[in-house]
C-alpha cells in the first residue's frame, strides 16, 4: 500500500483571503500523515510592485500580509513536521525569513530552520542578449525595476531534504511550490518526466487556491456552489505512482467537481500538450478526470517530456503613470449626459493623452481600447451609467490632468453628475526573455539570523 503525501494551498495570490490555512492544517493534524502547506502569493506583476516597495524601504519587499498568513498555523506546523513553502519572499526573501524567525520565536520556537532560495534575480548582463529588439528599445526608453527568472523545484526539494521547516522563495514557477515537496518526499529522479509532469499539474491545480474548489466558478442557478462564503482551499493527495487526487478539508464550503477541476486544469494553459515549466514540459492533451468520491477528483494520464533548455524571465520596467477617473450619471438621459461629459474630456485632453472611455452599465470591460465592441442599452432612456476615463503617460503631471479635468465636471460638466473618484498610480511594463539555464545560478541557504 503506497503512502500518500498531501499538499495544501492556503493562498492563490497576494491579497487572497486570510484564515484559510486553518481547516487545511486541522485536516493534516487529524490524518497524522506526511503533508506540506504552500502559499502562492506572487503573480506576474506582484514581484515588481514588491521591488518598488523595497526601494522605498529596504525592510519591505516581501508579502505584506506574511505575519497574518502564518501566525495562526505556524506553531502547529512546526510541532507536527508540516513544512511551509511559499514564494512570499518576493523581492526580499531575507526580510521574510527574518520576520518568520521573529514570529516563531514569539511562539516559543527560538531556532527553526528557514531556507531561502536564491538566484531568481538576474542582472542585465544575463538577460540583455535574450531580449528581442522591440523589448530592448522599450527598456532603453525606460528604467529597470526588476528582472527575475522563474526557478524550478530543485532548490526547494533539496532544502526540505536538508531539514528545512520553512522554505522562502522569490520567483519560482508556481507549480514548483508543490513539485519541490513531492520530489523531496518521494525522492524520484529529476529526469522522471512523467512523475515531474504529474507533480507539476498537481501544483497547477493548487496554485490558484480556491479556483479549483468552487471559487471563481459560481453562476447562480447554472453553476451553483454550496457555502461559497466559506470556500475551503484545496488539498492534493499524491502517491509514488503520480496519482493525484484533488480534494479539500471537511466542513468547508465550496465544491470539488469534474467541472471545477476541468476549468482550473486549463487555466492559463496554451498548448495542452506542451505546458512549459522549469522542471518539465507537461502534456495534458490525453488527461482524464474521474470523480472518486464526494469532493474528490482524480487526475490521470498526464505525461511529461524533457524540460526546456531555457528559463522564462520577467523583466519589469517603469511604465509611467496610470490615471483613472469616474463619475456617475443616473436617471433620464443618463447615457447622453455621460457621452457629453466624455466629449468635454476629449476636447480638453485628447491632444496630450490617449483616452480610454467606458460607460459602465452599458459597455466597459468587453470593448476594445478604441471603443469598438458590444454595448448594451436599458430600455426607455432611464439608466445608471458610470463614466470612466483612463489614460497613461510617462509624465505624472500630464497623467494627473485627467483626474483634474474629470473632477471639474462637478461644476463644469452636464447636469446631475456625482460620485467622482480619481486615482493616479505608477505603472509597470513587463518584458519577457528566455534565458539559457547555464547563465542562472540558483541555490538555497539557511537563514542565519540578523547580521
Amino acid at each position: 500500500m503506497s503512502t500518500l503525501y498531501r499538499v495544501g494551498c492556503a493562498a492563490g495570490f497576494s491579497g487572497d483571503r486570510l484564515g484559510v490555512a486553518r481547516p487545511i492544517v486541522d485536516e493534516f493534524l487529524r490524518l497524522g500523515e506526511p503533508a506540506c502547506l504552500i502559499f502562492e502569493s506572487l503573480a506576474e506583476r506582484t514581484l515588481a510592485l514588491a521591488q518598488l516597495d523595497r526601494r522605498q524601504n529596504p525592510a519591505l519587499g516581501f508579502e505584506p500580509l506574511l505575519a497574518e498568513m502564518l501566525e495562526p498555523i505556524l506553531a502547529d506546523c512546526l510541532l507536527n513536521n508540516i513544512p511551509i513553502v511559499g514564494n512570499f519572499g518576493a523581492a526580499n526573501p531575507e526580510g521574510a525569513a527574518s520576520l518568520i524567525a521573529k514570529l516563531a520565536k514569539a511562539q516559543g520556537f527560538p531556532s527553526i530552520k528557514i531556507a531561502i532560495v536564491r538566484g531568481d534575480e538576474i542582472s542585465a548582463s544575463v538577460f540583455m542578449a535574450c531580449l528581442d529588439q522591440q523589448s530592448q528599445d522599450a527598456l532603453s526608453n525606460s528604467s529597470l525595476v526588476s528582472a527575475n527568472v522563474y526557478l524550478g523545484a530543485r532548490e526547494i526539494a533539496d532544502a526540505l531534504n536538508d531539514g528545512a521547516q520553512i522554505v522562502v522563495t522569490g520567483r519560482v514557477a508556481d507549480p514548483a511550490l508543490t513539485v519541490g515537496p513531492l520530489m523531496a518526499h518521494f525522492k524520484k529522479s529529476w529526469s522522471d518526466w512523467n512523475f515531474l509532469a504529474q507533480a507539476t499539474m498537481a501544483g497547477h491545480l493548487l496554485e490558484c487556491g480556491a479556483q479549483v474548489t468552487g471559487g471563481y466558478f459560481a453562476d447562480p442557478g447554472v453553476k451553483d456552489v454550496p457555502d461559497l462564503a466559506s470556500v475551503g482551499f484545496p488539498i492534493i493527495e499524491f502517491d509514488e505512482f503520480g496519482n493525484c487526487c484533488v480534494t479539500k478539508a471537511p466542513n468547508t464550503g465550496g465544491v470539488v467537481s469534474l467541472m471545477t477541476v476541468t476549468e482550473q486544469l486549463l487555466y492559463e494553459v496554451h498548448d495542452p500538450a506542451r505546458y512549459l515549466t522549469p522542471d518539465v514540459i507537461a502534456d495534458i492533451s490525453q488527461a482524464q478526470l474521474e470523480l472518486t468520491g464526494e469532493n474528490k477528483v482524480l487526475l490521470n494520464k498526464v505525461l511529461g517530456h524533457e524540460k526546456p533548455a531555457t528559463l522564462k524571465a520577467n523583466i519589469c520596467i517603469d511604465g509611467g503613470w496610470l490615471a483613472e477617473a469616474e463619475i456617475s450619471y443616473a436617471g433620464h438621459h443618463a447615457y447622453e449626459r455621460a457621452q457629453l461629459a466624455a466629449q468635454i474630456i476629449r476636447e480638453r485632453l485628447s491632444d496630450v493623452l490617449d483616452l480610454r472611455i467606458d460607460y459602465i452599465g452599458s459597455a466597459s470591460v468587453f470593448p476594445s481600447e478604441d471603443g469598438s465592441g458590444p454595448s448594451f442599452r436599458a430600455q426607455g432612456g432611464f439608466e445608471d451609467i458610470r463614466l470612466r476615463v483612463a489614460a497613461a503617460h510617462m509624465n505624472k503631471v500630464i497623467a494627473n490632468q485627467l483626474c483634474r479635468e474629470l473632477t471639474a465636471l462637478y461644476t463644469c460638466g452636464p447636469a446631475g453628475g456625482g460620485g467622482v473618484r480619481t486615482s493616479l498610480r505608477p505603472r509597470l511594463n513587463t518584458l519577457v526573455a528566455y534565458v539559457p539555464r547555464d547563465l542562472v545560478k540558483s541555490s538555497y541557504e539557511f537563514f542565519a539570523g540578523e547580521q
Partner: protein, 109 residues
C-alpha cells in the same frame, strides 16, 4: 423558414474560464454534457471565435481539443490591449472575456 430561431448562445451548452499571460488570453470552453462536445467541435471553430472577437483584433487564434475532458482551449494573441500591466481596460486581465465567448451564437441542431 426562420433560421435565426434555431440558434442559441454557447452559454446554454458550455461553461468557460479565462486565463492570461502577457498580451495573450486563453479561454477554455467545456461542455456540460459529453454528448454536446461534437456540437462544440463543429460550431466553435477558431475562425468563428476570431470573428466573434474581431473588435479586439487578435493576431492569431488557435484552438486545442481535449476530447477526454469534453473541452476546447482557445488561445488568442494580442487581444488584451497590452495585457495586465499596460491595458487601460478596467479588466486588465480580460477575465470577463469568457462570458463574451459564451455569448456567441451557435446552431445546436
Amino acid at each position: 423558414m426562420n433560421l435565426t430561431k434555431t440558434r442559441i448562445p454557447l452559454y446554454e451548452l458550455a461553461h468557460a474560464r479565462t486565463g492570461d499571460k502577457g498580451n495573450r488570453s486563453n479561454i477554455s470552453v467545456i461542455a456540460y454534457r459529453p454528448e454536446d462536445f461534437a456540437i462544440l467541435l463543429r460550431e466553435v471553430t477558431a475562425e468563428k471565435v476570431r470573428e466573434h472577437f474581431s473588435f479586439r483584433k487578435p493576431t492569431a487564434v488557435q484552438r486545442y481539443e481535449l476530447p477526454n475532458l469534453c473541452a476546447l482551449n482557445f488561445v488568442m494573441d494580442d487581444v488584451l490591449e497590452g495585457g495586465v500591466n499596460l491595458s487601460l481596460n478596467l479588466d486588465t486581465h480580460g477575465k470577463s472575456l469568457s462570458y463574451w465567448l459564451l455569448a456567441m451564437e451557435i446552431d445546436p441542431s
